[in-house]
Amino acid sequence: MKLEQQLRNKLKEKDILLMTHIVLGYPSLDVNREIIRQMVGNGVDCIEMQIPFSEPMADGPVILKANQDALATGTKVEDCFQFAAEMARTHEIPFLFMTYYNIIFKYGEEAFIKRAAEIGIHGFIIPDLPPEMGKTFLALADKYNLALILIYAPTSTDARMEELDRHANGFIYCVARRGVTGKKSAFDHDFDNYLARCRAATQLPLAVGFGIQSKEDIDALRGKADMAVIGSRTIQLVETEGAEAVGPFIAGLR
């Protein structure tokens, strides 16, 4: 089933969905497995699995370090595929691959997309692949029925949002503020205006990410967004309190 439809079905039961992020191989695939088990068991609706890259230009210090550590311990793209296949087999929720374009380019666009489709991945988030640069990728993703998630930023004009919407599929990822991942965002009046512009530009579900760390942040998004994205916060939690702390944290967000 296509990603958008899956999310819409879930939205019939919940007023806001949760998407979480993990870096594959950080701190290890075994710990990733446990974290995902806890996330799914506590009501996460969608998970983006980041294939680590040596130059993650859009990520902040927490995810940057996780990428570097995952690579330092020898995580390969092949390991990520095998792990992702296992997760997609084991859990009912949609999984996305998040990575940077070079990983896909080097693997071969069609080979990468075809394999992702075969193992049950639903889509991709690639922060350095704007649609202008991703024409062949978009066509191939469409061919294999997968979604390339496009991104709205607070700097996007209305015209740009509409342009992106013409290529978008699955949902739109709204970056809550300028900057990189992992810092607190202010959900103020300007943010509400931005989100209203996002809503006006597309019919697709809206996910909001960057700086979402607590139940208060998620409450602030209820009625305005369809999905909240928790990124760096769970990585920090695993570092400080271990993988077993993820479940109660996720449960406490609802």
Binding site: P56, N102, F105, P130, S156, R178
Partner: protein, 410 residues
């Protein structure tokens, strides 16, 4: 360059969405400047009054006699203000920043020359300035860090990854996506997302324009070959651009061979099988990367060449065979530097010494009636610690120990 920023198969703008609007504005302003002869005139005036342009073309009589081949001419970009060709690009972008009304500039730097040039421009134009520099390079290039800070810039040592130029570039991008409204990223070389490669090459083209006029004046005909070192590729593009359409002139880029092509410790992107096409840091080019697409560590004695990618314009000229690429090892570079100092009294930067090493290898095979130009992209004073260390100079070592002792006792 096509409308998507590609030079043949290379280039593009693989940027996060938050930068889209900024790049649109930058492209618009750059196009406006390119089409406005008054802008280039303003640039020429600034460079001639602030940065010693035109830089001389020096006939290297003693080196010519030593090798017994073609006549050797050296384009003296080391005589620019701040000691390198970097000033050309930075002052040009400074004029753009003024037009765009931004208040802050950021930059990344490897050897420190681009950081120093940016700090100079920021001081002159009254802009806030932050420079990102790999921690490794901060250690290698302390004199430049000192000057940057004295000119009011904040120098941020980057401790991620290999702690060299590529990591500094990533960190500068992180700053830019956070402060996009009031900040311009003064990209230091002819790399990165479009329009930077073309824009930087345009500002640097002043080198080749002058060199072509000068060689005709002194030698009465065009050179047989032009040599330049290639890190990111801005000095190479700067001198090559004017000669690209001239038949019969061979253009030679010399990359950093480090400990040798077989060692794995080098920065050879275009003349080695270790590199392959990739997309990182916003553009598509030849990168030193593994089979998974992860960037490899690089090595060069010259911090400014110690970079994992290369200008997409040069990748295009490599592919269409307009430019020939060679490499020189750290050892060959030190020998070329030594010879140039002894015979000509000129101290090229370690980066530029790669071009000298490449030229010295071949110049003896050419006719005495021919001329070659070597682009001396920068001066070697900044490298005194690295050079003295490489020469294992005993009196320098003693000086450092004595000075260290003096500081630790104070």
């Amino acid at each position: 360059m096509d409308s998507n920023g590609f030079f043949g198969n290379w280039g593009g703008a693989y940027i996060p969405e938050v930068l889209h609007q900024t790049f649109q504005e930058l492209k618009k302003e750059y196009d406006r400047c390119r089409k406005d002869p008054a802008f280039w005139q303003e640039y020429l005036t600034l460079m001639s009054t602030y940065s010693c342009r035109p830089t001389p073309l020096t006939y290297a009589e003693n080196l010519t006699r030593h090798f017994g081949g073609a006549q050797i001419y050296i384009k003296r970009e080391d005589l620019n203000h701040t000691g390198a060709h970097k000033a050309n690009n930075v002052m040009g972008q400074g004029l753009l920043v003024k037009r765009m009304g931004k208040k802050r500039v950021i930059a990344e730097t490897g050897a420190g020359q681009h950081g120093m040039a940016t700090a100079t421009m920021a001081a002159k134009f009254g802009l806030d300035c932050t420079i990102y520099m790999g921690e490794e390079d901060v250690m290698r290039q302390r004199p430049n860090v000192f000057w940057m800070e004295k000119m009011g810039a904040t120098v941020v040592p980057v401790t991620d990854g290999s702690r060299t130029l590529k990591d500094a570039i990533n960190e500068a991008f992180r700053d830019w996506v956070t402060n996009v409204d009031d900040t311009h990223y003064v990209f230091g070389t002819a790399c990165g997302p479009a329009p930077f490669p073309e824009m930087v090459a345009w500002f640097q083209s002043i080198i080749g324009i002058e060199a072509a006029e000068q060689i005709i004046q002194y030698h009465h005909k065009m050179p047989k070959r032009v040599y330049a070192c290639v890190g990111g590729g801005s000095n190479a593009m700067g001198i090559f651009k004017r000669f690209l359409d001239e038949d019969g002139i061979e253009l030679v880029g010399v990359e950093a061979g480090g400990h040798g092509a077989e060692s794995g410790a080098h920065a050879i992107r275009l003349s080695s099988p270790d590199a392959s096409p990739g997309v990182a840091q916003g553009y598509k080019t030849m990168f030193l990367q593994d089979d998974d697409g992860q960037m490899k560590l690089t090595h060069s004695v010259a911090a400014g060449l110690d970079y994992v990618g290369v200008s997409p314009i040069l990748s295009d000229h490599w592919e269409n065979k307009r430019v020939r690429f060679e490499s020189a090892t750290d050892t060959e570079v030190m020998q070329a530097l030594d010879l140039t100092m002894r015979l000509e009294g000129i101290i090229p930067a370690l980066e530029s010494s790669h071009a000298f090493a490449g030229a010295f290898r071949e110049v003896g095979q050419l006719s005495k009636d021919d001329a070659i130009i070597i682009n001396q992209s920068g001066r070697g004073d900044k490298d005194i610690f690295t050079i003295a260390h490489a020469f294992e100079d005993p009196s320098w070592k003693k000086f450092i120990i004595d000075r260290g002792r003096e500081y630790s006792n104070s």
